[in-house]
């Protein structure tokens, strides 16, 4: 049994310590917004926040998290930067298939949490771990800038 703090709620789940958070979220807790893309921290589809920082949940064992606060795409809109990012995404129509976008939005929100006015190289550094097979990068960059400017 492991207890996790997910989106402000404690969840006690029957999972071995080595189970990656990704699968605990998707298959046990039932939060499927966090996506599986590669399983080896190469694509960013599984990005969640742990204490406000972006982490790849496919490589993070549930036993290593302890009491730290986990935030997923389902609740990121309740945070000021998450809401700004989501709105910026919709305003300029970033999404295509959408499968990578949970991870993109989590990475982008973590970037704004840390760097309120990111420049191009900040964006490159924060977002290079998130692959988008549909090729929405140009709009992701623009949406992050728009979100940073919005109040």
């Amino acid at each position: 049994m492991v207890t996790l703090q997910i989106n402000g709620q404690a969840h006690t789940i029957d999972a071995p310590d080595d189970m990656p958070l990704l699968w605990a979220l998707r298959d046990i807790v039932g939060l499927t917004g966090t996506k599986f893309g590669c399983g080896i921290a190469q694509c960013g589809a599984c990005t969640v926040h742990v204490d406000g920082k972006a982490v790849r949940s496919c490589m993070l064992p549930v036993g290593a998290i302890g009491n730290r606060a986990i935030t997923t795409i389902e609740a990121i809109g309740d945070t000021p930067n998450g809401a700004k990012i989501q709105k910026a995404w919709l305003d300029i129509e970033v999404v295509q298939c959408g499968y990578c976008q949970s991870g993109q939005i989590m990475s982008a929100t973590a970037l704004l949490n840390r760097t309120p006015n990111p420049d191009d190289s900040d964006i490159d550094a924060a977002m290079a771990g998130n692959i988008c097979r549909c090729g929405t990068y140009v709009r992701i960059r623009q949406a992050i800038k728009n979100a940073a400017k919005s109040v």
Binding site: A15, M19, P20, W23, A24, R26, D27, I28, G30, L31, T32, G33, T34, K35, F36, G37, C38, G39, I40, Q42, C43, A45, T72, I73, E74, I76, G77, Q86, W89, L90, E93, V95, Q96, C97, G98, Y99, C100, Q101, S102, I105, I123, D124, A125, M127, A128, G129, N130, I131, C132, R133, C134, G135, T136, Y137, V138, R139, I140, R141
Partner: protein, 726 residues
């Protein structure tokens, strides 16, 4: 009931039969049949509506559109809804798009005659047809109101889901109120489509209907399926095509509780309560495979076959003028090659299947081919298609991968051994190593120039495997030609008096083939545009000017190429080891002209600096979606040109995951300016063609920067290292 459109705007004249019916709760439904007898589709329970309809209007005014095409990011839920909503005259905000159930009889594209989302055909197939359905619905609402009020229909108008009688104080009836009466009317014999100036949604960049749920994690993809009692399986199919399981050592698995081994002749699965448990079980197995003859195949051997193939005479797909004579003089020969590629959509392959004790089967997942998915399951189980129920989900990318149904078949075969529903999920490694690959191609080309630098003779011979043959189980091709493989080559946009296009079917061993975003034009446009650059150099002409001089028969392409040159600053000088490359193409009914600017370091590293692309896709439905598809398509193609290469060693695919099957990332992505020109030509396709614009403009830019011509993709950086400009 027959109908025809008075002012068809896309030259569609085929008569179509409109079906009227009563929706649940007494509303109106409208659909059309594509041909043949009107067939009843099996109606999955989740649809409260009778599925014989594109439009259903309930008494409460709620409008539902059943979208025949699959949403995989290309925005088709939105664009097809725009077509219907505009002509029906309802607010898009009040419309719910739902996936149409599987039925070729009801939902096949008027273009392809099957229910399939591929080949950039959704708008081309449905543009006029869905406008007619919408316009018919509107006409019936007006007719119903005229009856109810006892006035002439001609005196009424519609606005936002209401019929309005201006002559009598502007009284109104809503579509919801009118729906029961309208449902009893015959469909109109003729409808008039809106004039361009009256269009409210068509041609406008309206907001995507699927976007809000894709930014908050609510959108449901196949991999997200959850239900009581659901098990999850990890799968390993033979790493060599045609191989068999030789032995499975499951001694470690036996000590892991709650896991079930499924061992079939050519695949192994481990079923568990969740994916992690199943995957750990899979990792605990020691599986020996017997690869058979294919285990001897390496990619080198396939390339040797392709080279040999390209030296043989092929089946002639097109011949004009006197080719032999035209090539007698000063001839230029070149070969351009493209590798095998995996699709690697972000959502790995998966399907959820419940094979039930009563002999029926339920399926949950995302596919580009709804009816073929049902057939794959019914074939695998030996049951009638009517016994298969399919629940449709969003696709986390298609790109042609989900035009195949191998993932359905494999999942069904595993599910046959499992009690209750099971979700079979492929790891990324499985997804990349068990793909239906884009064929490798070798283009052998020859051309000659006249004294004033015009192309006189041209031969283009394409050697490669045939996807059509693969899909039809190896049937001989009609006249030896794979129409997809020569697409783009037979409609080469340049005016060339003497030309011959040939295809040599050269099947690769040990790899399954499939359609890949951009299909044949990816190869043909790469070859043609590389050759055009080489010929421009030989003629001593500027690459854009050389192309323009050959575009006399293609005014649309000529016009956008001029705009591309202007907007990209084509003639502005660049520093050393920087260059611009151009690509002009006509593919999938749309024209695109693209200029890419690069710099190449002394080490041979390519930095893409800027991309400018001008698009003439004819009449547009949603220009912003077109721009998005071209932006994404260019990156999809460029990713392949920079990195994409599937290779075989001992019959096994060597690439495994995104670490060795690389994707372009945001830090490698330049600004991409896309301009969509306005046009009154027939609408063109747009999901695919951006893809073929990327690689040629990139290699031509590299040529301009370094003087090195790239003959095979992906680009070998060692060819570019420390060379000086010629």
């Amino acid at each position: 009931m027959s109908m025809s459109s008075k002012s068809g705007t896309a030259g569609l004249s085929r008569r179509r039969f409109l079906q009227v019916g009563t929706a649940a709760g007494g509303g109106l439904m409208l659909g059309f049949q594509v041909g043949g007898a009107f067939a009843q589709a099996p109606a999955p329970k989740k649809y409260v509506l009778n599925p014989n309809a594109f439009i259903a209007i309930a008494r409460d005014g709620k409008v539902t559109f059943q979208i025949p095409q699959e949403e995989m990011g290309q925005g088709v839920y939105t664009s097809l809804s725009q077509l219907l909503a505009d002509e029906l005259d309802v607010d898009l905000a009040n419309v719910t798009p739902l996936p149409a159930p599987p039925s070729d009889a009801l939902y096949a594209s008027p273009r392809s005659r099957r229910q399939s989302t591929g080949g950039s055909t959704s708008i081309r197939g449905f543009y006029t047809a869905l406008r007619q359905v919408g316009a018919s619905g509107r006409a019936m609402m007006v007719q119903a109101a005229a009856q109810q009020w006892g006035v002439s229909a001609a005196s009424l108008r519609t606005e936002s889901g209401q019929v309005i009688d201006d002559a009598r104080g502007g009284r109104k009836l809503s579509y919801g109120e009118l729906a029961p009466r309208a449902a009893k009317l015959p469909a109109p014999q003729e409808v008039t489509l809106k004039a361009d100036k009256d269009l409210k949604y068509i041609g406008k960049s309206v907001k995507r209907l699927d976007a809000p749920e894709k930014v908050n994690g609510k959108a449901q993809y196949g991999i997200d399926v959850r239900m009581d009692g659901l098990k999850v399986a990890a799968i390993a199919a033979s790493p060599v095509v045609g191989g068999k399981v030789a032995h499975v050592d499951d001694s470690k698995l036996k000590s892991m509780p709650g896991l079930q081994l499924v061992q079939l002749d050519d695949l192994v699965a481990v079923v568990g309560p969740n994916f992690w448990a199943a995957k750990k079980g899979m990792d605990a197995l020691d599986i020996k495979w017997n690869g058979g003859e294919n285990a001897k195949i390496n990619t080198d051997a396939i390339w040797r076959d392709l080279e040999k193939g390209s030296q043989q005479k092929g089946a002639v797909a097109k011949e004009e003028g006197d080719v032999e004579k035209s090539l007698k003089g000063d001839r230029f020969d070149a070969a351009y090659e493209m590798p095998f590629l995996a699709h690697a959509p972000m959502e790995p392959q998966n399907f959820t299947v419940h094979v039930k004790k009563d002999g029926s089967c339920e399926l949950w997942g995302g596919t580009q081919v709804q009816t073929a998915t049902v057939k794959a399951a019914s074939d695998a189980l030996g049951i009638a298609p009517e016994k298969v129920t399919f629940h449709n989900f969003m696709l986390g990318g298609g790109f042609g991968r989900r035009l195949a149904t191998d993932m359905v078949t494999k999942s069904v075969r595993v599910a046959q051994k499992v009690d209750g529903p099971v979700k079979v999920i492929w790891t990324r490694e499985e997804d990349i190593q068990q793909d239906m690959y884009r064929p490798a191609y070798r283009n052998a080309m020859s051309a000659s120039l006249t004294k004033d630098g015009k192309i006189d003779g041209w031969t283009h011979r394409i050697a490669g495997g045939s996807v059509i043959a693969a899909i039809t189980g190896g049937k001989p091709l009609k006249d030896g030609i794979d129409g997809d493989a020569v697409e783009g080559a037979v409609n080469n946009p340049y005016a060339i008096p003497n030309q011959r296009i040939e295809y040599v079917q050269t099947e690769p061993k040990a790899l399954n083939l499939g359609w890949w975003r951009g299909v044949g034009p990816n190869n043909a446009v790469f070859a043609i545009e590389s050759m055009m650059d080489d010929l421009a150099k030989k003629a001593g002409k500027d690459p854009v000017a050389f192309r323009l001089a050959h575009l006399g028969n293609e005014p649309r392409l000529k016009a956008i190429l001029q705009i591309a040159a202007e907007k990209s600053g084509w003639s502005k000088p660049l520093a050393a080891r920087m260059g611009r490359g151009v690509c002009a193409q006509n593919a999938f009914g749309s024209y695109i002209a693209t200029v890419t600017e690069v710099d190449v370091t002394e080490m041979g590293k390519i930095n893409v600096r800027r991309i400018t692309s001008i698009v003439d896709a004819g009449r547009t439905v949603n220009p912003d979606t077109i721009a998005a598809q071209v932006q994404g398509g260019i990156l999809f193609g460029m990713t392949a040109a920079l990195y994409g290469d599937i290779t075989l060693k001992d019959g096994r695919v060597q690439q495994r995951n995104f670490n060795d099957y690389r994707m372009m990332r945001i830090n490698e992505t330049p600004s991409i300016e896309v301009h969509v020109v306005s046009s009154t030509e027939d609408p063109g396709g747009i999901g695919e063609p951006g893809c073929s614009a990327g690689p040629p403009s990139l290699v031509n830019a590299v040529f301009a920067a370094t003087g090195v011509r790239i003959h095979r993709l992906p680009i070998d950086r060692s060819l570019l290292a420390s060379r000086k400009i010629a």
